[in-house]
Amino acid sequence: MNPNKNHFPEGDAFRRELNGRYRSATIGEVLFLSALLIAVISLTALLYNIVDGAFGYTAYEYKVDPSTITSKPLNELTQPELVEVLKANISKGAYNKLNNEQAMETRSQADLLSLVLERIIRIDTKAVWSLSDSLFHKTEIEAEVAEKYPDAKLEFRTWLTMNFITAPMSSRAEFAGARTAILGSLWLVGIAVLFALPIGVGAAVYLQEYAPKNLFTRIIQTNINNLAGVPSIVYGMLGLALFVRVLEPLTSGSIFGVTDSNGRTVFAAGLTMGVLVLPLIIINAQEAIKAVPDSLRQAAYGVGATRWQTIWHHVLPNSVAGILTGTILSISRAIGETAPLIVVGASTFITVDPDGLFSKFTALPIQIFNWTTRAQPEFHAIAASAIIVLMVLLLSLNATAILLRNRFQRRL
């Protein structure tokens, strides 16, 4: 007979004890479920808040009555007629400038129409309502408009349109677009990745495959891990000191004969972003390389491979999925960063697209920040639209990361 047996509860005592265990299990489950609910509610609130701002009724007036410039309703004008209207109503200088940007004859009808609206007729937005107000308080809104702005037109407006994505910046929210900012963000990310990916993967390979495990490499490793958690504004300060000031001849392009810029270029900002994501890329690549089993390295060495052949033919191909996933997730971080860009000198109002390393630039988060700080409600509406653009960009990046992982992942 086992002498320990009578130390366990039996019969009723056991059942009571078991019920106690079930109770704590239920408490645990309820706690976890409420945590999940809180998380889901906050995320839904965030989404609702953004979408709420990007659609809704707007009341606006024309500063110039369209009937004074053309007899037809505006949107029935043909492309040549619109060109005529423009020619007749804006200054010659402004017309030539537009014509130089893109020849009038080659512009689409929609493009010309928005030019006519922006330059000649000019829209004056009186009020903007959120999506929820527009849906549930339509009659109140109509009454309010009729009373306060008898001349205004009330229209349901989708602020996030194709035009919003493709139009350049403008000082009028009704015509402003995010193109300059989107392109700026893409340039930044492109430069950051081209800079940080090779360096990050190289450093990770060295740390994992070559470096002896000694105090020195441990110190370096700890530093890299800590750098990943340094607030981004600190990287901004570094970028300002290093890329904007010290390396100005390089980042302004003056050593390449570019004269019309200072160090506050998309190049300097891209490098700053590169340094910002470098620790993340290194750590992710290290994890991916670590996940390649040692037995595979031994197999390669066992048939007489050199270290380089082992790395190039086996270690890297088997870690590429992890490296790419890590890189894309780091990009997601970079694309949402605002603080370092402000420090290194992103422009807040700029209408020309970045067209090279040494251009001035703005980026989506900068633009969003700028628009949300404006007083007029129509700017808040386009800020909400820009946030949606940014989120879609982030979502597609993350989706790409998942696809790449599934595509490249090999069974080991």
Binding site: Q298, Y301, V303, R411
Partner: protein, 260 residues
């Protein structure tokens, strides 16, 4: 096959010791491994068999702070002297690991890769076929050469690893418990294979399986740890002698299963 000429040796060790940091895992090994014979290394777990085997083709270069003292002579040259290139040594001394570790590539590539990186210029298809035949795997996989090696069974994978090793035509093949994860039938096939391979290669095999050592090997090295936990070869002789008339009492206890 008794004759009077001095047999040729593939490996001769002189007071070979292997240290992990300050711990001496294997101490003072003096053995002569005869060419084109199968030499088995037996002994209890942790006595340094794998450590010793890895030192034979410098695989322990990759173990941090592993150090080798003494001499390990291959045709009179010390494998650990400065002018020996470890990559070349590994090409001449192939290794089959305890756990099958094919590359995550096709069956064909598994064999072709080692040959290619070593500058093989001949007909690759022929080499692949010949190596797979040599490892008694050809008949099973000849129609699946482009399939991933991971789709093979464990025993087939291990034979693929043997094929991969013989494809680079080494002089010596080291096997660390090649059959420990295999069923009795696959184990037997690998033993038959070793008998076939020994016509061309010198084979050194680590095994925990006494019957396997007795059945398949010509010579046996018995290893045991001393009171400082350092392993050493306590007896090295004809396999027949080790299993029938061992000189050392500890060997006798071990091979008859009375150990520990």
């Amino acid at each position: 096959m008794e004759n009077n000429v001095e047999p040729e040796y593939a490996i001769v060790t002189n007071d070979l010791s292997i240290h992990y940091g300050s711990y001496t895992a294997v101490k003072g090994v003096n053995v002569k491994v005869e060419k084109q014979k199968i030499t088995a290394i037996i002994g209890p777990s942790g006595c340094g068999k794998s450590t010793l085997l890895r030192s034979f083709n410098r695989m322990n270069d990759f173990v941090p702070n592993c150090r080798v003292t003494g001499e390990l002579l291959l045709q009179g040259q010390n494998l650990y002297s400065k002018d020996v290139d470890p990559v070349e040594a590994r090409r001449r001394i192939g290794m089959v690991f305890q756990k099958p570790n094919p590359f995550p590539k096709s069956i064909y590539e598994n064999i072709a890769w080692g040959a290619r990186i070593n500058g093989f210029k001949g007909n690759m298809d022929e080499l692949v076929e010949q190596s797979l035949r040599g490892a008694a795997l050809w008949e099973e996989v000849k129609d699946l050469l482009q399939k991933s090696a991971y789709e093979l069974s464990g025993g087939q994978q291990q034979r693929l690893c043997i094929a991969r090793t013989i494809a680079i035509q080494p002089e010596i093949i080291l096997m660390d418990e090649p059959a420990s994860a295999l069923d009795p039938i696959s184990t037997l096939r690998i033993e038959e294979l070793m008998q076939e391979l020994k016509k061309n290669y010198t084979i050194i095999i680590v095994t925990h399986n006494m019957q396997q050592a007795a059945r398949a090997s010509d010579y046996t090295a018995m290893m045991m740890i001393d009171d400082q936990r350092s392993g050493g070869v306590i007896e090295f002789d004809d396999t027949k002698k080790i299993f029938t008339r061992p000189k050392d009492k500890r060997t006798e206890d071990y091979v008859t299963g009375r150990f520990g």
